[in-house]
């Protein structure tokens, strides 16, 4: 994240605001995407206008599993980044 680290001080605050806004937008987009993905995976028939029991449980599990996947991927991603930064540091 060198572009962030190299930011002049007077722009750091502006950046923090952008970051906060991006996190808000991102978490809402993730919500919409999660619904789309799990609805796609778990809805089968449209004979009724309410979710069948097994559809509901499929969707809740799908969402829960996706969130856990995101957490695990996030950890591995951070480890990878940290390792890369170490390698790039001048000795």
């Amino acid at each position: 994240m060198e572009n962030v680290q190299n930011l002049p001080p007077h722009q750091q605050q502006q950046f923090m605001q952008k970051l906060e806004q991006a996190q808000m937008t991102d978490s809402l987009t993730m919500y919409n995407n999660l619904v789309e993905r799990c609805f796609e995976a778990c809805s089968y028939s449209f004979r009724s206008k309410t979710l069948e029991k097994y559809e509901t449980s499929c969707m809740e599990n799908c969402a829960s599993r996706y969130i856990k996947m995101a957490q695990r991927v996030g950890l591995r991603f951070q480890e990878h980044q940290a390792m890369q930064q170490q390698q790039q540091q001048p000795k």
């Binding site: 806004q21 809402l28 919409n32 799990c38 809805s43 309410t50 979710l51 969707m59 969402a63 829960s64």
Partner: protein, 104 residues
Amino acid sequence: MNFFGGGEPQKPAGPDPLFAATTEMEMYTDLFNKLTASCFSKCASKKHKEPDLSLGEMSCADRCVSKYLEAQQKIGIVLQQANESQAQQQQQMMSMQQTMAGRK
């Protein structure tokens, strides 16, 4: 269905209200677009032989919207619980670190 957890007591100032309103609008648009795409792909025959939707396709669409919005609400709860349990874990981690730091 509530973006920004409306309904709960909101923070006094919070972020820029123009940003919040604009984002809310964008999220409803995004939701509507995904809803349309999902129900089109679930309910409309892929052959496209007619310029109109059949009665069967239309009532499938009605049920699809209803089920989609129910799913949205159910998944919202799962997401909220995950956020809460993560916040709790972080707090436990922090208080543990403070305890450890206090020992030194």
